[in-house]
Symmetry: C2
Subunit: 268 residues, 2 copies
């Protein structure tokens, strides 16, 4: 792990990331030493920096450090975590602040091959996403809702949990975004009030446009999901992963356009 570019296993107890979740993170797939979708991750980080009024991290330095950490890694996961740095007791952020950056390399997670061949099973979580348009879409460090949602099940046969908002709109999985296919259209939840705008979600939306596949970014309910022809989940490590079952509804596999899967696979 690198803390501000220097190998370190610890961070000062005064860091505001710890005290308030006052910071941001990105999780990137690493293939043959290279972090994937770098520009998209940096763009989301920039949106977060703007929303939190954090100074922008130097991107070329961040890339140098990332490449140095990932050197020789055939396949892994790079986590980049940025905090506002240390600050006194109290919510008010110090001005100026001295942000910290933490880069860590992790083993590639075990993703069952059957998830891609047979699809994953979903459950519906009790924990809901709260709504806040000023924080929605960002990958900030306030992630208790997803932690508690993920804590709800330990059946390894369930691949992901769906999280709704207070108004019963489906927002996302605990760690992935959601798409459905219905009558030749792609639909994905609007994330203006809740959720995290995933880099692969963004990529799927762009690829679909190139394939003349219409995409609706809209409000979706569980009924909409039940009525869909097929569902799939996306994140930066899974890529595109089809859903086999949600509650009592089975979904057809193989309906995700091959060109869409290939376009995403090529980029991830």
């Amino acid at each position: 792990m690198l803390l501000n570019g220097i190998p370190n296993d610890n961070i000062p107890l005064t860091d505001r990331g710890l005290h308030y979740g006052d910071g941001l993170f990105e999780t990137l797939a690493v293939v043959k030493g290279r972090p994937q979708l770098w520009d998209r991750h940096m763009a989301r980080l920039a949106r977060g920096e703007a929303a939190l009024h954090l100074p922008s991290m130097d991107r070329s330095r961040l890339l140098l450090e990332a490449e140095s950490l990932c050197e020789g890694c055939e396949q892994g996961v790079l986590k980049i975590l940025v905090t506002r740095g240390s600050g006194g007791r109290g919510y008010r952020p110090p001005v100026p602040c001295d942000p910290r950056r933490i880069l860590s390399l992790h083993p590639w997670p075990e993703i069952p091959a059957t998830w891609y061949s047979d699809g994953i099973r979903l459950r519906v979580c009790d924990m809901r996403w709260s709504r806040n348009p000023k924080l929605a879409g960002l990958k900030h460090l306030n992630r208790l809702e997803q932690v508690l949602a993920r804590q709800e099940w330990d059946d390894p046969g369930i691949g992901e949990g769906l999280m709704l908002d207070e108004f019963n709109s489906v927002i996302s999985g605990t760690q992935s975004n959601l798409f459905l296919l219905r009558s030749g259209r792609l639909q994905t939840p609007d994330l203006s009030y809740s959720g995290i705008a995933g880099t692969v979600r963004e990529l799927v939306i762009e690829c679909a446009a190139g394939l003349d596949l219409p995409v609706d970014i809209t409000t979706l309910t569980l009924d909409d999901l039940m009525a869909a022809d097929s569902l799939f989940m996306t994140n930066s490590l899974w890529g595109v992963c089809p859903v086999s079952r949600l509650a009592d509804t089975d979904y057809a596999l193989g309906q995700i356009p091959t060109r869409l899967r290939e376009a995403v696979a090529a980029a991830v």
Copy 2:
């Protein structure tokens, strides 16, 4: 600072408090070496531990460590921070987990004497509280909304900012709870969906019952606040602090029952 009872300035970078805000905290006034309202703070911590499915911290050990840290401190602030401890990458909490406890002693903040004699001025923040009934009331580590609300002003003449929810209900200050007096009744926002249930808020509600002062825990709007006879804010360091002004509305001071102020002052 004490990390798990041992003087330390650092915490492992793998701590889930840093990565997800997966933990809780308490801020206690310290007077003559003794943390105040200990039982109330521990009761709120217990509610948080239950909600996060954290094992309960040993309270007698925590008190011993707190007293040792606060020894000789005439007046100060004790912060107790509890995290789920280290865990792998990913939202899913490790089972079992090995929580960490961090105790830190801070100088007493500068609270202007005029806040008590002349009241404090309030502003209304743009940042809203999000709503989540499973997290409301708890003092967990996901505090970005309050950080960003507190970041909205730096006029030292403004003592506190009011935060509303999505439905325009007034919830609290950025770091304090709110009460209003109207026609001989005390009213304070219902915190079932947002906000932090303060220890002094709890104390005021109990004291009022003993003084035959009716208390409504209810939904309040800015119009309700404008129509109030007087307002006051509470937190564990301020105690009870009258409000002089909110936007263009001036409030009468000295309407807070002396016996209520005295009862709270005696306990804080």
